[in-house]
Symmetry: C2
Subunit: 409 residues, 2 copies
C-alpha cells in the first residue's frame, strides 16, 4: 500500500472530523489509547466550570442545582448506548476492580449451590485477583483459570460464573461474546464480561447476547482521563435480585432519609456505594460527548482497517526483525489493538516512544499498539511503522537508557 | 459579646490569613464545610496543569513522569500528619464507604473467633450499612448498634470490632477516642474510627491512642472537592496481617509484573484496589497544601472559640424561637459543628440559605452549622446569628417554597 493510497483513506474517512475534538500533541502518533485515551477538547472547559462555578461558587447547592447526584446514572446512560444496553442498566462508579467485586459477589449469590468460577488465565490480572479475594473471603470456591482454548471445556453444571474480558489486553484476541455467553447459560452459569478494551472501541451487544453482568473502564477508549470512574452493567432481569453486599448509602433506597437500616434501591443505583467522584465523573461525562453522534459500526469498520493496515505494513519488518504477531488476523477475533512478541520488546518500545510513536509494553515480551478510531489517521499507521523500521534498522533500541525499567510500564 | 469585641477576635486570629487561600463567594457565610469544603485557590490552577500538561500532553508517560502512581501514598502522607499517624500508615483511595468495607473485613479476620460488631445506632448511616452488608455476606455476625450511652456496656469478650465515627454527624458529639479505644482493647476487640468530621477540623491522635484502623473523607474539612477520594489508616503493627479481600492490582506486590497470582503488597498499598482517580486525587493533593504550615492545636482552639461564640450568641434566639441545642457545651465532647433541633428545621434552614448563610438540615429535625476554622471569621458567626434572628422574627421561613423538599438535603 502506497502512502498516496493511505492518504486517500484519510480523505474518505467518515470519522476524520472527530480528530478535531481531541487535543493531539504536536508530532505525536499515539497508539496507546487502549491504556489512556487522549484528552477531548471539551473536557478542560467543562471541568473548569465544574470546579469554579459548581464547587467554588454554588458549593453544596450543586447537588441539586447541577444534578451531581444524577451524574452516575447520566454517565451510565451515555455508556449504555455504546455497549448495547438500556439507559437504566448501566451506572458509572468506583473502579473496574471494585465494580467487578460487586457484581461477582452478586452473581455468586444468584447461584448459591455452585462453587466454580471460570476465567482465562491470561485475563487482566486485577480480574483474577478480585476473584481470588472473593474466593478467599467466602471460602469453598474453585477458581478454574484456564487457557483460552480450554474455556469451553471448563464450563460445567457446577460453574457459578464465567468471567472474561472480551479483548485480551496483551494479544488483542476478541472473544465470541455471543457463543461464550450461550454456552455458559446452557450450563446454568451466569456471565460477567469485562469491557475494558471494548467500550468505545467497537459496538458491544450486551442485551442482544443476553449478558448478565458487565464492567468496564472509563479511561481507555472512553477518554475519561487518568483513573476515570469505571462502569457496571446489570441486566434488568437481575436488578432486583443482585444484592449489593458493598452496601453504601448511595445504593440505599432513600439515601437522604438517613435511616439506620439498609434497604437497597430497586434499580441499578443499588450497586453504587459512596459519594460519587464529581470532578472525575464530570470529566468523563464531557468526554463521552464525542460519541454522541457516532455510529459504532462505523468505528468498528475503521478500527479493522487501521489494525489491518498496520499488520500489512508491518509484515516485512516483522519478518526481518523477529516480531511475532500475536493478534488474530481474523476480523471476528480481533479487538482494536495489534501486538507482537519480541525478545527486546521493552527497549524497542522505549526507543520508538523516543521517536514520537507511543505504544506500550506488557510483560514478558509484548509490544502493543492500540488504535482508537476517533482520533487516529491512516497516515499515523504508516508513520508508526516507518519509525519502527528506523528504530530497528539503526539499532536505536540498543541505547542503554532504553533498557532501564520504569516503575510503571 | 459586642460586634466590636468580635471584630477584635478576628484581628488577633493567628489563622486569619488562611482565609485568603480559599475562594469565598461574595457575601456568603458558609457554615457547611462539614459537608463540602470551600475551593482552595491553589486547586483550579493545579488541576488545569494536570489536565492540560499531564493528561493532555504527556499522556501515559505521566505515570512515571509526574508520579501518578505515587499519588495515593503522597496524599495519604499529607493526611497522616493531621491525624496523628505516620506517613506510611495512610493511603488515599476510593470512597469512605469502600474503605470502611475493606478495613472492617480485614479487622474481622484478625478476630476470627468473635462475632459481634459494636457501633452507635446514630452513626452515619453508610457506616451501619457497610456493616450490614459485611454481616449479610459473611453470615453469623451480631450487629450490636446501640445508643451512645450504651456503647461501653455493649463491649464484651465476644466483640470483634468497635466501629465509631468520632464526631456525630447530627449532633456534633465528640467521642472520647482514647477511652473507647482503651476499653475496646481491654476486651480484646479492635477499633475502627471514622474521621469524616475530624480530619482537618482538629488534631486527631491515632497512634497516641493506639487506634487499629481508621477511615475518613476528603471533601469535608480537607476541602478536596465534591466526592474527593477518601483515605484509610492501618496501624503499622497490623499492616502485614490486614488482608485485602478487595484484592485489586494496585494492592499487588508487583502490579506491573502482570502475574496471575495475587500477592498482597507488604505495606499500606495492599489496601488500594484499582487505578487511582488521578484528577480527583490531584485536586485533593493541591487542597491539602493549605494545611502544610498549620498547627492543628491552633485550629482546634479557634474551632472551639467559633462554636462557643455561636452557642453564646444563639442563646436568646434559641429560647425565644424554640431551638434546642443538641451539641455538647463541654469542650472535650464537641466537634467543630453546632446543631439544634427545631420542629420547622427544614424550612428555617432553606430560608436562612436564601439569606446567604449556608448550613444544612439533617432528618428528622436537625439544623446543623459547621465551622471550618481555616476560612471562617468570628464576624461570620455574628452575621449568621443575625440573619437567623431575622428569618425567625420576620417569619421568612413560612414562605411555602422553603418547605419543598429537594432531592438532596
Amino acid at each position: 500500500m502506497t502512502l498516496e493510497a493511505i492518504q486517500a483513506l484519510d480523505r474518505s474517512d467518515p470519522l476524520a472530523a472527530k480528530r478535531e475534538e481531541f487535543v493531539i500533541p504536536e508530532g505525536l502518533v499515539y497508539l496507546d489509547g487502549n491504556s489512556l485515551g487522549l484528552l477531548p477538547r471539551a473536557v478542560p472547559g467543562h471541568l473548569e466550570k465544574v470546579v469554579q462555578q459548581q464547587w467554588g461558587h454554588d458549593l453544596i447547592r450543586s447537588w441539586n442545582l447541577h444534578g451531581w447526584v444524577e451524574l452516575p446514572l447520566q454517565v451510565g446512560a451515555k455508556i449504555a448506548r455504546l455497549i448495547g444496553a438500556e439507559a437504566d442498566e448501566v451506572v458509572a462508579a468506583d473502579s473496574t476492580s471494585v465494580n467487578l467485586f460487586k457484581v461477582l459477589l452478586a452473581a455468586l449469590r444468584l447461584r448459591p449451590n455452585r462453587r466454580i468460577i471460570v476465567s482465562d488465565i491470561d485475563n487482566f490480572p486485577t480480574d483474577l485477583y478480585i476473584a481470588q479475594g472473593v474466593s478467599r473471603l467466602l471460602g469453598g470456591y474453585e477458581l478454574r483459570f484456564v487457557q483460552k482454548d480450554q474455556i469451553e471445556a471448563a464450563l460445567d453444571q457446577q460453574t457459578a460464573v464465567l468471567m472474561l474480558t472480551e479483548v485480551d489486553y496483551r494479544t488483542g484476541y476478541l472473544y465470541d461474546m455471543a457463543r461464550l455467553t450461550r454456552l455458559a447459560h446452557e450450563k446454568g452459569a451466569l456471565v460477567i464480561w469485562d469491557l475494558a478494551h471494548s467500550a468505545g472501541a467497537f459496538p458491544v451487544h450486551l442485551n442482544q447476547h443476553r449478558v448478565d453482568f458487565a464492567v468496564g473502564c472509563g479511561y481507555k477508549y472512553l477518554n475519561g482521563g487518568p483513573g476515570a470512574p469505571a462502569f457496571l452493567f446489570v441486566a434488568r432481569q437481575h436488578q432486583r435480585a443482585a444484592f449489593p453486599f458493598l452496601s453504601g448509602w448511595m445504593g440505599h433506597q432513600a439515601p437522604f432519609a438517613f435511616v439506620p437500616e439498609y434497604v437497597a434501591a430497586e434499580d441499578i443505583r443499588r450497586l453504587t456505594v459512596g459519594t460519587p467522584s464529581v470532578l472525575s465523573m464530570s470529566a468523563l461525562d464531557a468526554a463521552l460527548e464525542v460519541f454522541a453522534n457516532v455510529d459504532m459500526e462505523v468505528v468498528r469498520q475503521k478500527s479493522l482497517q487501521l489494525t489491518g493496515l498496520f499488520i500489512e505494513l508491518m509484515e516485512p519488518l516483522a519478518a526481518r526483525y523477529g516480531f511475532e504477531l500475536v493478534t488474530p488476523t481474523l476480523h471476528t477475533r480481533r479487538g482494536s489493538q495489534v501486538s507482537y512478541r519480541h525478545p527486546q520488546g521493552y527497549p524497542v518500545m522505549q526507543a520508538l516512544i523516543s521517536q514520537g510513536v507511543v505504544g506500550d509494553f506488557r510483560a514478558p515480551d509484548i509490544v502493543r499498539f492500540g488504535f482508537a478510531p476517533l482520533y487516529l489517521r491512516f497516515v499515523d499507521v504508516w508513520y508508526a511503522v516507518n519509525r519502527l523500521e528506523q528504530v530497528m534498522r539503526q539499532d536505536l533500541w540498543k541505547d542503554p537508557r532504553f533498557s532501564q525499567r520504569a516503575k510503571v510500564t
